[in-house]
Symmetry: C2
Subunit: 110 residues, 2 copies
Amino acid sequence: MTTVANPDTGRALDHPAREQIRVEAVLQALADPIRLRIVREIADRGELPCGVLDLPVSKSTCTHHYRVLRESGVIHQRCVGTSRMNTLRKEDLDALFPGLMDGVLAAPRD
Amino acid sequence: MTTVANPDTGRALDHPAREQIRVEAVLQALADPIRLRIVREIADRGELPCGVLDLPVSKSTCTHHYRVLRESGVIHQRCVGTSRMNTLRKEDLDALFPGLMDGVLAAPRD
DNA sequence: CGACTGGTTCGATAGGGATCGTACTACCAA
DNA sequence: TTGGTAGTACGATCCCTATCGAACCAGTCG
């Protein structure tokens, strides 16, 4: 039977609070091409599980990149079943660094 | 005597053209704390020679950081006498990544 | 000319981080 | 319960880069 799973199996997954987000960490996170691609996809397509993007790296490297994005405050991750759903923390980022994400997302994509 | 030096002893110092500026390189350049500090100072105080900021690094490291900023397209350097004057390439950056620099510069500075 | 100042160049070093594979956990479905 | 799927954890490797000191170069000032 399709048991209705706990709608938020979220195990808190330490995210920085808005006040704890540092611009250097955000820039560092966004500077990697793979991570920038992840961010662009989430920005374009909304909430996404880790696996849907086929990135040219291994699963463990992928996990690493999502962690960097989460710990720097760029994305939020919540557990849903066996997946992790990722969203941009756009509100927080816009409040702290108004224009930054828009500028990054407006950049020509090769 | 105070010979009037060539007002622009600029030896071209390869800068990327606007179209060549890549957002990953800019983010990478801005992600370093020392370089971010340099950028903030130039943004606040206008054109600056390399030496006026007393940074907690050696002269050669300083040169390295200015080169990274120049080659990524964040700053422009021109030679004046024995100095190099640095300016933000704000027009180019705003055109390519509208809001990015404003967001970075608006970030709380610790 | 000779000294000084601002900055570069060159090698060397150390630390960080991007990467991988393997082993593991958690949830879901049959 | 058994298997499959989504992702994590860990240890190892390798490269990139921030750093330094020493030598050097180019203007400027006396």
